[in-house]
């Protein structure tokens, strides 16, 4: 690969077409990098301004996030707690179903079943978040109310359920990729040595793929952390922190959506607060995505007969 890149002999730098195309592609890359830098820079700039007004210690230690109140609270912890509740809740709902489905589709399902389920998973992954939000508010919450009459109109459990449904395809698709990366020859050898199919799947394929599966879960959680519409529509906008799933939850993302519905005056403290929250969200999802990708690629490299050999 390196040799191909550095072999300059085969493409004369004097050829104008070569230079034009190389320049164009480099220009595209420069544009992409510039737009990324602009996004990060814009968030960073306003966040720095915000921290000129609000000390970092209050941001980390205040126990309320009420930037527009009479006596404002600027603690990020309540929002982080809400985001953690939704992300964990959704993962706990989605993981068992998604993992079983991935193993089933990869090793057991017949061709017809697999193609139907693939289509269903693809359909679930292309439903827009705002439609999921509608579903959560107008169907899941009323349905759950039949089970728990004490359920509030805006609650965490319905948001968790529907966010879980939304991240299910991510876990299924990526876990299947990880399971599929385990060489079939290894599994066949195990069966030839007397292991049953179940043993090969549960004791060999699943442990070999577990880093990739873990990576898929981390990537799915990243999506849950960033999910905005479902949480804004179904989980409400309470200012307090509650660990009761029957009550409302406010997350980093739903604060942003709620705040932007009012008129944000540039330069105001609420405006700066939005950028600070967005910066936290950027750092959090960036880090989680990096971790998830690292796990997925480590999983591929670690698989027996994987790309490391």
């Amino acid at each position: 690969m390196t040799a191909f890149r550095s072999s300059t002999g085969a493409h004369p730098r004097s050829d104008p077409r070569e230079r034009l195309m190389g320049g164009l592609l480099l220009g595209c890359t420069a544009l992409a990098v510039a737009s990324a830098a602009a996004v990060i820079g814009a968030l960073g700039l306003e966040t720095v301004r915000f921290f000129a007004d609000v000390p970092l210690s209050r941001f980390l230690a205040d126990l309320a996030w009420t930037p527009s109140a009479e006596e404002p609270g600027f603690g990020i912890l309540p929002l982080l707690a809400g985001t953690a509740q939704i992300a964990w809740g959704a993962t706990v709902m989605a993981l068992p179903v998604a993992l079983v489905l991935a193993v089933f589709l990869e090793f057991y399902a017949g061709k017809r079943t697999a193609s139907v389920m693939n289509a269903a998973v693809a359909a679930l992954s292309s439903v827009p978040a705002v439609v999921y939000g509608y579903f959560a508010l107008n169907f899941v919450t009323p349905a759950l109310k039949g089970v728990w009459p004490g359920l509030e109109a805006f609650n965490g459990i319905s948001a968790c359920l529907v966010v879980g449904l939304m991240i299910l395809p991510t876990i299924v698709v990526l876990s299947r990729e990880a399971l599929g990366a385990v060489p079939r020859s290894v599994l066949r050898q195990a069966v030839a040595l007397g292991a049953t199919r179940e043993r090969a799947v549960l004791r060999l394929a699943l442990p070999a793929a577990w880093l990739g599966v873990l990576g898929s879960v981390v990537l799915a959680m990243t999506r849950a952390v960033g999910e905005t519409m479902i949480v804004t529509l179904a989980a409400g906008n309470p200012t307090g922190v509650s660990w009761n799933p029957l009550e409302g939850v406010r997350t980093l993302t739903s604060f942003l959506a709620q705040a932007s519905m009012g008129d944000l005056a540039p330069g105001s403290i609420e405006y700066g607060a939005c950028f600070a929250v967005a910066a936290v969200l950027l750092l959090l999802t960036f880090g989680m995505h990096a971790l998830g990708r690292a796990l997925v690629s480590r999983g591929q490299a670690d698989a027996p007969g994987g790309s490391r050999s």
Partner: protein, 279 residues
């Protein structure tokens, strides 16, 4: 363990695994069906006559089509170009690897964050206001890293030997890329772009942040008109508790899914025709 006991155990395990798999598949299918039935039933109820006179979807549909075109025009050339450069041209130095990984991980940053950045950059910084153009730029910027990630995956799956063989036959670097690599990766790239674009068309959060109008009296005819789109319209109607609005929101949702399916169909046709042209 004696042989019969063991075989009985594996039979039990196998039955359990199959049953569990069936249950998981059933849950997934049931959820999808419920989603479809709820949307269609609510949409079928129709809004009250009093609201419906003021709640047409033409403006929102036109806004969404404008946004789809703008997003594609920005994200596809920039994203695919950058992906080709990063996979085929960029030297494997630490600096390039760092840039590539930053771009890769920006694909995991949620759309709301881009909405806040778009508010500062396009709505206020460039003075575009909450216009279709500001929305298209925001969606474009958020889609670029996703297009890069998907296209790079397609390019990386092209066998290295293809490049070497073409080089050995005297092709220049761009000839290798155009005649071999891009041809082999074309289907994957178009698929990756479609997935990223369909996501962008369904995104409501960033448009809401930069200030999409929830009530418009005319359909946007140019990119400088006020921002309106189907997803933000669905959000606005869903968030209103008054009777009649849920039905409106459901109708708009069905319309949005229809528009997305239409866009998907166009992209699928491009993919199919390209595949035929290759053979």
């Amino acid at each position: 363990m004696s042989a019969p006991a063991r075989s009985r155990e594996t039979h039990r395990v196998r039955r359990w695994l199959r049953a569990l798999g069936g249950v998981a598949a059933g849950i997934t299918l049931a959820a999808l069906c419920m989603l479809a039935v709820v949307m269609l039933l609510n949409a079928g109820r129709g809004p009250d006559a009093g609201i419906s006179a003021h709640s047409g979807l033409l403006a929102a549909v036109a806004g969404t089509l404008w946004l789809a075109i703008l997003t594609a025009a920005i994200a596809v050339p920039v994203g695919v170009g950058a992906a080709v450069y990063l996979e085929e041209y960029a030297p494997r130095t630490r600096a390039w690897r760092f840039l590539a990984s930053v771009l890769a991980n920006l694909a995991g940053v949620p759309p709301v964050v881009y909405g806040i950045a778009g508010l500062a950059l396009f709505v206020r910084g460039m003075g575009l206001g909450p216009s279709i153009l500001a929305g298209g730029l925001t969606l474009g910027v958020l889609t670029v890293p996703r297009v890069i990630a998907n296209s790079r995956r397609a390019l990386a799956s092209v066998p290295e030997s293809l490049r070497w063989n073409a080089l050995a036959l005297g092709a220049t670097r761009w000839q290798v890329v155009r005649e071999q690599v891009l041809r082999a990766a074309a289907a994957g790239i178009v698929k990756g772009c479609s997935a990223a674009l369909v996501r962008a068309v369904g995104a409501a959060a960033p448009l809401l942040i930069i200030g999409a109008a929830s009530f418009t009296t005319f359909a946007p005819v140019s990119p400088s008109d006020p921002l309106t789109s189907l997803p933000t319209q669905i959000f606005a109607w869903t968030a209103r508790p008054q009777a009649g609005f849920p039905a409106l929101a459901a109708g708009a949702s069905v319309t949005l899914l229809f528009v997305m399916a239409l866009i998907g169909l166009v992209l699928w046709d491009i993919r199919r025709r390209h595949g035929e042209a290759r053979r």
